[in-house]
């Protein structure tokens, strides 16, 4: 079980959290302007790296807030986490 560093509450066990998928994917401002390839890529294509991954978590059984984190997908160790709206460290 992961120990996840919530930037609001501190480190808590994984059971308190919900995974929110890859982070840093902005919804296109004008979807109608995109062609099918770009829209499909926005919806479905993910970087899925073997290494550092930027992802979102939500502390559902704690503060209830979303935040961002960077984790190594080979060791599962978190490098850092930061609040929504802050710049990535």
């Amino acid at each position: 079980m992961l120990l996840i560093p919530c930037p609001y509450c501190g480190p808590r066990p994984e059971l308190e959290f919900a995974y929110g998928g890859e982070g840093g994917i902005a919804r296109p401002a004008d979807p109608a302007a995109l062609d099918d390839d770009a829209w499909g890529a926005f919806l479905y294509h993910r970087s899925n790296p073997r290494g550092m991954h930027v992802e979102r978590w939500r502390h559902v059984h704690g503060c209830g807030r979303f935040f961002n984190a960077r984790r190594d997908t080979v060791t599962d160790l978190f490098a850092c986490s930061w609040k929504v709206g802050e710049a990535a460290p």
Partner: protein, 361 residues
């Protein structure tokens, strides 16, 4: 095509082929899926003869338990859809399910009572290691080079963008065609050719108990409380757990995920409560957004990909291999795998088995 090399980073059968729970079935909802998986089941039925190697294919039946009214409706819909597609599947009452699988508990006092079950009698299990060895021996006899301990480090493209060669830890191999079959590492390998995939990789766990005498006659799955179990010919209970919530390449899963499955097993089969688990391991599975696989030409000339089998690829092994070989040799898909493209995620023609089953499978 007769000059073929298989490049394997580790050893043949050391990845997910040897890490799965060996269940084979074809009771999928949609027409595209039931054609694909039943093509595989038909090949399983002849595979020991074809390979001249006993893969211990045992059509002992797969029982899928219904615990809620919703389950009952969904599984009965599956039964009807399967039968219209020529795939055997039948509905059993709880009492009939217990008769088919005597260790099953069906008492009304259970938190999730068994209300009935769907049974595919042609489904079952096979010995996964034997499948790997049988295929390796048969391929070797046809002149295929199987190169183990040889990791692919790059895919070289020519000026026009077509595949020209692969770089490996043992040197460069020139080839006009490359087929990527890398399971959980598909995104990583495809990235070498500059292709971004609609995939995410998760750890999936399985575990086996201490070996005991034959007590368990079939395969039982419960999607709702998330358990699946069968007994191997060695006597071990083979149990499949779920995936972790987050992407990972760690080849191990969290303890609370396997504990959750064992709680469900103990609820359904109280006889097994005192048994000890011998081994627990994880494999990395590549999951598509609609939980259906991709067997297709990639958007790079000469590059093909067979991936996205998610939590259930072993069952399709002979069909998947046959259709992928067809696609590579003819440079066009077989009618059965034609719907299973990467482009379905652009065009919206999803084969949404995820919504159909509402669970990993």
């Amino acid at each position: 095509m007769s000059r073929v090399a298989v490049l394997e980073k580790g050893w043949i059968g050391g990845g997910n082929t040897g890490r799965n729970t060996t269940i084979i079935r074809s009771n999928y909802l949609f027409e595209e899926s039931s054609r694909l998986y039943d093509h595989a089941v038909k090949k399983w039925e002849a595979l020991s003869q074809t390979l001249n190697y006993n893969v211990m294919f045992s059509q002992r039946g797969v029982l899928m338990l219904a615990h809620t009214v919703h389950d009952v409706q969904v599984f009965q819909r599956h039964v009807h859809a399967n039968r219209l597609n020529g795939v055997d599947n039948e509905w059993l009452s709880a009492e009939e399910a217990k008769e088919f699988c005597p260790p099953l508990r069906i008492s009304a006092g259970m938190r999730y009572p068994v209300l009935g079950a769907a049974l595919q009698r042609r489904a079952g299990t096979a010995r996964h290691d034997a499948v790997a060895w049988g295929y390796a021996r048969a391929a070797d006899a046809l002149g295929v080079d199987i190169i183990q301990n040889c990791a692919v480090t790059g895919i070289v493209r020519d000026a026009a963008g077509a595949v020209e060669a692969v770089e490996t830890t043992k040197g460069k191999i020139r080839t006009p065609k490359v087929g990527v079959v890398a399971a959980g590492n598909t995104s990583v390998v495809m990235q070498m050719a500059g292709v971004r995939m609609p995939l995410e990789s998760y750890p999936l766990q399985a575990l086996v108990s201490e070996p005991i005498k034959p007590v368990f006659p079939c395969v039982v799955m419960s999607n709702t409380i998330h358990a699946y179990i069968s007994q191997s010919d060695k006597g071990e209970l083979v149990i499949g757990a779920g995936t972790d919530a987050y992407i990972s390449y760690s080849q191990r899963g969290a303890l609370h995920v396997s504990t959750h499955t064992l709680e469900a097993i103990c609820e359904l089969f109280p006889d097994f409560r005192r048994m000890r688990m011998l081994r627990n391991w994880g494999g990395i599975v590549d999951v598509t957004p609609d939980r259906s696989p991709i067997i297709a030409k990639a958007p790079v000339k000469g590059l093909y990909v067979n991936c996205g089998w998610g939590t259930g690829g072993f069952k399709a092994t002979p069909g998947s291999g046959h259709l992928f070989a067809w696609t590579m040799a003819k440079d066009e898909p077989h009618p059965i795998n034609a719907p299973f493209t990467i482009e379905r995620f652009r065009d919206g023609h999803l084969i949404d088995e995820a919504a159909a089953a509402a669970v990993a499978h």
